[in-house]
């Protein structure tokens, strides 16, 4: 059984470390905030200028002046702060934010990522993604292992315009947890019930399988 989007988020949440500041992208990454492990303190940064981002407001308490980078209405937690966009990206570029989790259309075995443009079809823009991937110490990509047509999103080289070069270190998909090092995807964990062969078949880039690969443990 491959993981649901919620379960991908749940697995990524296990990567959070105590006292980390974390930026979560739009989509699956946003869900990570629902699964913070017990006993650790993290703060979420939203690049439009918010630190200590809280849950969505209660109905009737939405504030047009209080949104996240996905333009969703949100709240701010005790200890949070609000600042301008230049300060926000100083936090990101200056590596004060320890972890970035974002989605991708393609990831390559050398750590390249593409997630902002499909030439001739979709041009929405990169938003803050290029700044985030160029500077974050830890970047985790959250995505499905294959696209809607069943083609692998883990490639030898990206075919779409790049968002960043050689920056992705970890990928969590509906099938596996993989680490990127020495120009290859190294298989770390399998989704429950998913075989190594399933993952091999769904991975177009170089896949290194070293010894027995454990199943993920989701609490």
């Amino acid at each position: 059984m491959s993981l649901s989007k919620q379960e991908i988020a749940q697995r990524i949440a296990q990567e959070l470390q105590d006292r980390w500041y974390v930026n979560l992208g739009i989509g699956i990454p946003t869900l990570v905030a629902n699964y913070i492990p017990k006993g650790i303190d993290v703060e979420f940064q939203s690049e439009n200028g918010l630190l200590g981002m809280g849950p969505f407001p209660k109905e009737g308490e939405e504030d047009a002046d209080m949104i996240n980078a996905g333009k969703q209405t949100v709240t701010v937690l005790d200890g949070g702060s609000i600042f301008d966009s230049a300060t926000s990206f100083a936090m990101i570029r200056g590596q004060h934010v320890q972890l970035t989790v974002l989605g991708a259309m393609e990831v390559a075995e050398n750590g390249d990522i593409a997630n902002w443009k499909i030439p001739g079809k979709m041009v929405k823009g990169m938003g803050g993604a290029m700044d985030l991937v160029a500077s974050a110490e830890n970047i985790i990509v959250a995505m499905m292992h294959t696209n809607k047509r069943g083609a692998s999103k883990l490639l030898k080289a990206c075919s779409l315009p790049l968002t960043g070069v050689g920056c992705v270190k970890k990928v969590v998909t509906n099938l596996a947890v993989l680490e990127i090092k020495n120009g290859a995807f190294h298989l770390l964990e399998r989704a429950p019930g998913v075989s190594v062969d399933d993952i091999k078949n769904a991975t177009a880039g170089t896949l290194v399988v070293d010894g027995d690969i454990p199943e993920m443990v989701l609490n």
């Binding site: 690049e47 939405e62 570029r93 823009g125």
Partner: protein, 233 residues
């Protein structure tokens, strides 16, 4: 005290002409200068270059200027959520320069701070860096990015005073403070305009020196793009 007050949006936009370059504050529809945008539509100025993180939605924000074909070029980081924008861009009617959001923010800041250019790692190795000078510092590659030259900056604040000091509310701050610094003429519209002395100097986000004209706006719609709530248990 140097008084920055103008009586209305008409006076605030005095001198605006076709072919000019504008900065417009806001992130999505949050903190956008609604009154100034309406007046730009009324004035009918065309061939505009607009620097703004987003391009509004089809029927609000900068989308209103796009509908009337008043914009020649957009400089933004993210332009989703706008069908008319996409249509004009794909048909070649509209020039679009998409740049990383942090680079956009810093280019605005640099403009107001007298810094002609700076190096940033964002976009290195991507098409954003094409034709730009690159340089290595401490083993990492960076791209040279330049300041802008806007004629006007239009910003929106929560409270302001007659000296042009501004206080923003919530995440409506976003790009507004840097753009306020950057305008040759900066027009600030505020929800509440107070006499000088009413705002605590310790709490000012944008000092009045950066603001040339201030007025109290009206009829703020403050539209929400994505209304998300926590379901009741």
């Amino acid at each position: 005290m140097i008084n920055k007050v103008v009586q209305n949006v008409e006076d605030a936009l005095e001198g605006v002409q076709s072919g000019m370059t504008f900065m417009l504050g806001g992130f999505g529809l949050c903190g956008i200068p609604e009154n100034s945008i309406s007046q730009l539509v009324s004035l009918g100025v065309t061939n505009l270059t607009c620097i703004s993180n987003n391009a509004g939605v089809d029927d609000f924000g900068l989308g209103l200027l796009l509908q009337k074909r008043q914009i020649k070029k957009m400089i933004s980081s993210y332009v989703g959520e706008n069908d008319e924008f996409e249509r004009q861009m794909l048909s070649g009617e509209l020039e679009v320069d998409l740049i990383p959001q942090g680079t956009l923010a810093e280019r605005c800041r640099a403009t107001g701070a007298g810094i002609p250019a700076f190096y940033t790692p964002a976009g290195y190795g991507t098409e954003v860096a094409k034709g730009k000078e690159t340089r290595e510092f401490n083993g990492k590659m960076y791209v040279l990015e330049h300041a802008f030259q806007p004629d006007f900056a239009f910003v929106k604040a929560w409270k302001g005073d007659t000296a042009g000091n501004l206080i923003f509310k919530g995440t409506a701050r976003n790009f507004n403070p840097m753009m306020a610094m950057a305008g040759k003429i900066t027009v600030a519209e505020v929800e509440e305009l107070l006499p000088a002395g009413e705002l605590d100097p310790n709490q000012i986000h944008t000092p009045g020196i950066f603001v040339q004209r201030i007025f109290e706006g009206n009829n703020y719609k403050k539209r929400i793009e994505q209304r998300t709530v926590t379901p009741k248990l």
